[in-house]
């Protein structure tokens, strides 16, 4: 048995090691682009050169130029901060909401629990895109709106997860042990319950960031995203899609960046998840 387990953990066929390394590298690059775009490119993202519009990828313009002759790579790099910000922000928003609701439900139990679970059911049944539509309709498209819209949209899933986590930890032996030692409930919550319940969520959050970015870009596609000339990735993709048959790079390049980033983050998240699970068992 032990033997099988061990050998299998070797053969675990998720992203192979080199993949994880690559992913890490890519994410690192993206983060760099976010904090210090200047290090990766010298041009400014809004530098218009209409005479040089829609130039295909070349050494000078690795990602080509857009309909206003702006260097696409530069725009992608300068858009990173915004996109990453939205990803993190949205995940933050949803996580914050989720933790409050989920934890409250799990700990309070009884009426509170049923109420919150019902509420979550409603939000689940409520197409997240509609939530986004309404939010944007109320506040108009902007970075903040995108963050809120995406955050609210992905909240219920996390909330359920948090609730489940907290419940699980609540039942665990070490919580009882802590009570048996005569610790105060608040201390038990602070020292054992919260940290242990949140632990596995670390991985989930990393996964969430990737998905949030994808989501935010979907909003952009529906014209509900960050307004131009902002080089937010989704906005770039949206701007480029009209040209896909004539100037493919405008839609393909930003799309690839988004997807690759999501993939990278996801694979990292999964590796992290396994680590944590390993640590827990």
């Amino acid at each position: 048995m032990t033997v099988l387990a061990r050998s299998s953990s070797v053969a675990l066929g998720r992203l192979p090691r080199p993949g994880t390394v690559l992913a890490g590298g890519f994410v690192a690059l993206v983060v760099l682009a976010a904090v210090a775009p200047g290090l990766l490119t010298s041009d400014t993202p809004t530098q218009i050169d209409l005479t040089n519009a829609l130039a295909p990828p070349s050494w000078e313009h690795p990602f080509g130029t857009d309909e206003a002759g702006r260097d696409l790579l530069t725009r992608v790099i300068h858009g990173t901060g915004l996109s990453l910000g939205i990803g993190l922000g949205a995940t933050g928003v949803s996580m914050a909401l989720a933790i409050v609701l989920g934890a409250a439900a799990a700990l309070a139990g009884g009426v509170v629990d049923t109420l919150i679970t019902r509420l979550l059911e409603v939000t689940f049944a409520f197409p997240s895109l509609l939530a986004a539509l309404l939010i944007v309709a109320v506040f108009g498209p902007s970075v903040t709106t995108s963050i809120v819209a995406v955050g609210v949209g992905s909240m219920p899933g996390y909330a359920r997860m948090v609730r489940g986590q907290v419940l699980a930890v609540k039942e665990s032996g070490y919580i009882e042990a802590a009570h048996a030692l005569g610790h105060r409930p608040w201390r038990v919550f602070r020292q054992h319950l919260l940290p242990n319940a949140m632990r596995p969520l670390v991985a989930v959050v990393t996964l969430g960031v990737g998905q949030s970015i994808v989501w935010a870009s979907s909003l952009a596609f529906l014209g509900l995203g960050v307004p131009p000339p902002s080089p937010e990735w989704g906005a770039l993709l949206d701007a480029g899609r009209g040209y896909i048959t004539t100037s493919w790079w405008l839609a393909i390049m930003p799309g690839l960046v988004i997807v690759l980033f999501a993939v990278a983050v996801t694979s990292l998240g999964r590796t992290l998840q396994q680590r944590l699970e390993g640590a827990a068992r």
């Binding site: 530098q47 519009a53 309909e67 108009g140 529906l222 014209g223 701007a239």
Partner: protein, 548 residues
């Protein structure tokens, strides 16, 4: 999801020139027309952009589609002259206050009821008294008084004042005549979905979100004088599909899934011209896409600043590059080149001249220390300009690119320009009717007649506010000139006054020109005799025939 399309306004045909130009463009590429063996009947698929809530109504989308089922009293020819349609002839009383129309004999609505004077009168009352078609109403307000049945084939329209533009205006699709019986007896929903007219087609089925299926009206007798043939439509069926995505729309034409496509993206225009015999570029008359400049609040209350703004950026260059040379620049902020009585002197008003712009701003006192972003200031107040625009509706993606290009150049002379795209919901919500909410607003209003000046520039007065004057530019003199032009029975005088009005608007930079609104249409090579009606470019399918 439907990308909102502009709501086109009433419009009279552009100068012959405009169409001539486009027809040339059309004939430039492809083999000569008329090739291939003709086939009887058949189905034609037309890919349109936006789906209206109702077949008829006050929205250009509705004018387009209702044209297929409804006939008008008169129509407009390419030379701008009025031609018979349901009305075989008409007389204008010497005082210009009464228009008496003689109706074609024996025309019947598709519900079998007669299309007589009573019907026409009933329709006029509908337009002026109900909310169903507000555009028809504003076009005739405040000149319309009453419609009067003389005998079954004669109807008189009485006006409060002479209004020579009247005939031109009623050539638009908004003025299609419907069966009174249907309007009276059927539910609003029924009329909305399947209006009863006397047109070449009848609505067979409306598959919402997908297409409207038209069947030919075999008993069609009331074709307009401008028709390319007499008698019922050649094709049996017209499938009017709604394809919001530009990429799909054009692809549907290139892959042969549709025969005629509306709104070819400018990127594909060249390609279309090479591939297809019939490509029509129709320059919509009326107010071009020009900036309303908020003269009531903000930095633009100062005329010098407005003029500096106009000089500050290379609008012409940006437009030509941004639209790949397909859509022409329009310097005249008040009227597009295809509108009658267009003032051509304004075609290049306020050329690109940053030195002049800077001089004007200095003169206006914007000489304070610049902000870190290089924005001019005055008494510590930065020279920021909020430009709102209907993203994807009034301003296409390409238009947005042009704005972004200009934004860069304006920055060079010290304008801090903020671009605020608005969703259709926000525009409709009427939230931006307040002067404090924006400084400039690029937008257009297609209209077949210089009377558009009255709609857009009539000053707001306490008793009669003008919700359409988005520059909040209240110039009594301008108002007087336009009104005089509208009511002048002397065409020469009217024309000269209209030109003068445009001059005033431009000189005061109450508006700043940008580009003309265009309709770009292409038809597959198997489609013959497809044309755009002239008052506002409604597609006409009643003459179309298909070839092998």
């Amino acid at each position: 999801m439907t990308r909102p399309r502009p709501f086109r306004r009433a419009g009279v045909a552009g100068l012959g020139l405009a169409l001539a130009g486009s027809v040339l463009a059309a004939c430039a590429g492809g083999p000569s027309a008329g090739s291939g063996t003709r086939i009887e009947g058949g189905t034609l698929t037309y890919a349109h952009v936006q789906e209206p809530p109702c077949i008829f109504g006050g929205w250009i989308q509705q004018a387009y589609i209702s044209r297929q089922v409804l006939d008008n009293l008169v129509t407009l020819d390419t030379d701008g002259s009025i031609k018979p349609w349901l009305a075989t002839s008409w007389e204008v009383s010497p005082d210009g206050l009464t228009y008496t129309f003689t109706l074609k004999e024996g025309v019947k609505f598709t519900d079998g009821t007669p299309l007589d004077a009573e019907a026409v009168a009933f329709n006029f009352d509908q337009w002026m008294t109900t909310q169903l078609n507000g555009t028809a109403k504003v076009s005739l307000d405040p000149y319309y008084r009453a419609a009067e049945v003389i005998d079954p084939t004669h109807v008189a329209i009485r006006l409060n004042a002479p209004y020579p533009q009247f005939l031109t205006l009623i050539t638009q699709g908004y003025f299609g005549i419907q069966s009174p019986t249907a309007l009276r007896t059927r539910s609003q929903a029924e009329n909305c979905e399947k209006p009863i007219g006397s047109g070449a087609f009848v609505v067979e089925e409306w598959r919402k979100g997908q297409e409207v299926v038209f069947k030919k009206n075999p008993n069609y007798t009331s074709w307009p004088a401008t028709a390319k043939h007499e008698g019922p439509a050649y094709i049996d069926e017209l499938r009017w599909k709604f394809v919001p995505d530009p990429l799909s729309r054009y692809a549907s034409l290139t892959t042969g899934q549709s025969d005629v496509v509306y709104e070819i993206p400018t990127v594909h225009w060249k390609d279309a011209q090479e591939k297809f015999e019939t490509t029509i570029r129709y320059i919509t008359p009326g107010k071009p896409i020009s900036f309303y400049i908020n003269t009531a609040a903000g930095v633009f209350t100062d005329k010098l600043v407005r003029q500096a703004f106009a000089h500050g950026a290379d609008r012409k260059g940006a437009v030509e590059a941004g639209f790949h040379g397909v859509i022409p620049y329009e310097g005249n902020p008040a009227m597009s080149r295809s509108t009658p009585d267009y003032n051509a002197d304004l075609a290049d008003a306020y050329p690109f001249d940053q030195a002049k712009a800077n001089a004007l701003l200095d003169q206006a006192g914007w000489t304070g220390p610049r902000t870190p972003e290089g924005i001019r200031t005055k008494d510590g107040r930065p020279l920021t300009v909020r430009i709102i625009y209907g993203a994807g509706s009034f301003i296409t993606a390409e238009g947005a690119t042009v704005l972004q290009a200009l934004q860069e150049q304006w920055k060079q002379v010290g304008f801090g320009v903020e671009l605020i795209p608005l969703t259709r919901a926000e525009l409709n919500s009427g939230r931006f009717s307040d002067p404090t909410t924006y400084d400039a607003w690029p937008s257009y209003w297609t209209s077949p007649s210089p009377a558009i000046l009255w709609i857009v520039w009539r000053p707001t007065t306490p008793e009669k506010p003008n919700g359409n004057n988005r520059s909040f530019y209240n110039n009594p003199e301008l108002a007087r000139i336009i009104d005089e032009a509208n009511t002048s029975t002397d065409p020469e005088r009217a024309s000269q006054l209209y030109r003068q009005a445009q001059q005033i608007i431009s000189d005061n930079a109450a508006g700043i020109g940008l580009y003309t609104q265009n309709t770009l249409v292409a038809a597959a090579n198997r489609v013959k005799d497809f044309w755009l009606e002239h008052s506002q470019g409604e597609p006409v399918f009643s003459d179309v025939y298909l070839v092998q």
